[in-house]
Symmetry: C2
Subunit: 323 residues, 2 copies
């Protein structure tokens, strides 16, 4: 038996449950440190009708694997477990495999427990210079890097990031590396300060207010506020032929004027999971600072979710080796 | 005085009006042949609150110009007249200049009259081997080429075009040149036959029916049916990370599930006017067959609009040298 957070009928509790058994090709990983993501909070609120162990941000140690060289390695893991055999997988679209399971989100026990399983090909060894606290950010940092997999941001582009949550702060750090003219718009002075100290222009906008940036200022707008008002601001700030990257599911449904999208030749780009290799390289090179994003380190338990759900709280980590 | 179709309060009539006077940098062009576009029909129905001479598809002869070498030349013309001086113009976004006028659409007398003016830099000389009937298609053909300015269609991509109107048939011809696997979906057997004879797979789908293509078949879907059902079909047929090109303003408002756009990492791309140079080169090389798209050649008059508005009728041309 092993301990895990278990979500059932909207209730999250610490339980003792049987240890997972790796399927062929899978490794068994003992989780060291795990992060609470907004998606986890949404699952708790009923999203995806998820029952089981949530969690998909983790770093851990491989206990069992077919590939003996993996055993004892410190790893992070890509969360989409693809079949590896269908047409999408063969075309390099494994993260979109139609029969995929997703760690702690869809059909696969997650990282908010002592043990998890993942296909060995999903695992990435963590470089020695990267701490556990850094490595646990590999998953959201990879999602930030996904933007640069999808569009070319030029060093002289003007980019606006809407939203100063955990993901917005990672995205702003990643995009700052391109040299682009970068403007972060958010609600919280303390969060914005994290980026200001790195030379990024950051602007606090109160609810109902609008950014001071002129209309059509940006070549690229990244919406990660998850709100209709963020979408509307992104659209207003975008120049004709600009790219609007959607990183966050909206809580409400923004109105989209399609004729305007056509007249201004706007690109709307949905963006989800990204490349772990790039995320780990950026961490190893010391180019991304995650320390200020950590709000607290708590033991495994529902209390971590309670804290993470509080307004304005950044990343809450759970220490699974502290149980 | 010169003859022109004049639109006022939803009524289109042939009038005698003063000849236009070219502004500095503009040429005066005598129109030889002009096309009726769906946008013209929409203007007549009240779109853009347009009053004046509509029309933006034409070929003509330059009568006056500052650049003497232009006089007597047979030309077509880009429809967006930009200031040439603002930041957008300096960044190569002249077609999106915020203070632009648009031939026969916005603040500029159009091509459905004997004489028009355009900035000299908007004009393109028609190569000798291109007939007037071909040249008058330069504008919509450029709009078809715009898709390839915006996205890279690979020779082995699967592409579906929704809509067998004039623009859809031009787009299908242009995209067929890439070698891509191309599937045209439309409502009219006779129109689809035009593309079938060029080796493009074309499928007739009755209203309320769905394409026989499997879900997520296409790498690229081009919506040019201008209907919500076309948009829904494009979305269904698109694979994850695929591109959905919007070429036609919708008559109704399709519902867009943004979470699905994010999960599947779809690109929505608005697409409007395109490169005339490429359009003329394709015509000169004999790679685009416009003859089957011509429904009729009529004299200048409201009758051309009446015919063009009939269901299933393709391009109606007006012969201005026949008045």
């Amino acid at each position: 038996m092993t301990r895990a957070l278990y979500l059932e009928d909207g209730k999250l509790e610490l339980r003792k449950i049987p240890a997972p058994t790796p399927a062929p090709g899978e490794a068994l990983v003992r989780v060291t440190l795990a992060g609470v993501c907004d998606t986890d909070l949404q699952l708790r609120a009923g999203y995806m009708d998820f029952t089981g162990v949530p969690g998909h941000e983790f770093v851990g140690i491989v206990e069992e694997a077919e590939d003996q060289s993996l055993i004892g390695q410190r790893v992070v893991g890509e969360i989409n477990a693809a079949c590896g055999d269908c047409e999408r997988c063969r075309r390099g679209l494994g993260r979109h495999c139609a029969t995929r399971s997703v760690l702690g989100i869809l059909g696969r026990r997650g990282a908010h427990g002592e043990l998890l399983t993942l296909p060995e090909r999903n695992l990435h060894c963590v470089p020695p210079g990267v701490t556990n606290e850094q490595a646990v950010f590999a998953e959201p940092l990879a999602a930030a890097c996904e933007i640069l997999e999808q569009i070319h941001i030029r060093p002289d582009d003007r980019v606006v990031v809407l939203g100063d949550g955990k993901l917005g702060l990672l995205i702003a750090q990643v995009l700052a590396l391109t040299g682009c003219e970068l403007h972060l718009v958010g609600r919280h002075e303390s969060k914005l300060a994290l980026l200001k100290s790195r030379g990024v222009k950051a602007e606090r906008v109160a609810p109902g207010e609008s950014s001071q940036l002129p209309d059509a200022w940006a070549d690229v707008a990244v919406e990660c506020s998850g709100s209709s008002s963020g979408f509307a601001a992104a659209r207003r700030l975008l120049r004709p032929r600009g790219s609007l990257v959607l990183k966050s599911t909206m809580k409400d449904s923004p109105e989209i004027w399609l004729a305007g999208i056509i007249i201004d030749e706007i690109r709307l780009i949905g963006s989800r999971c990204g490349p772990f290799g790039a995320a780990l390289r950026l961490l190893e090179r010391g180019l991304i600072d995650v320390a200020p994003l950590v709000a607290a380190r708590l033991p495994l338990g529902p209390g971590a979710y309670e804290l993470a759900a509080q307004r304005g709280v950044l990343k809450v980590l759970m220490e699974l080796d502290q149980i």
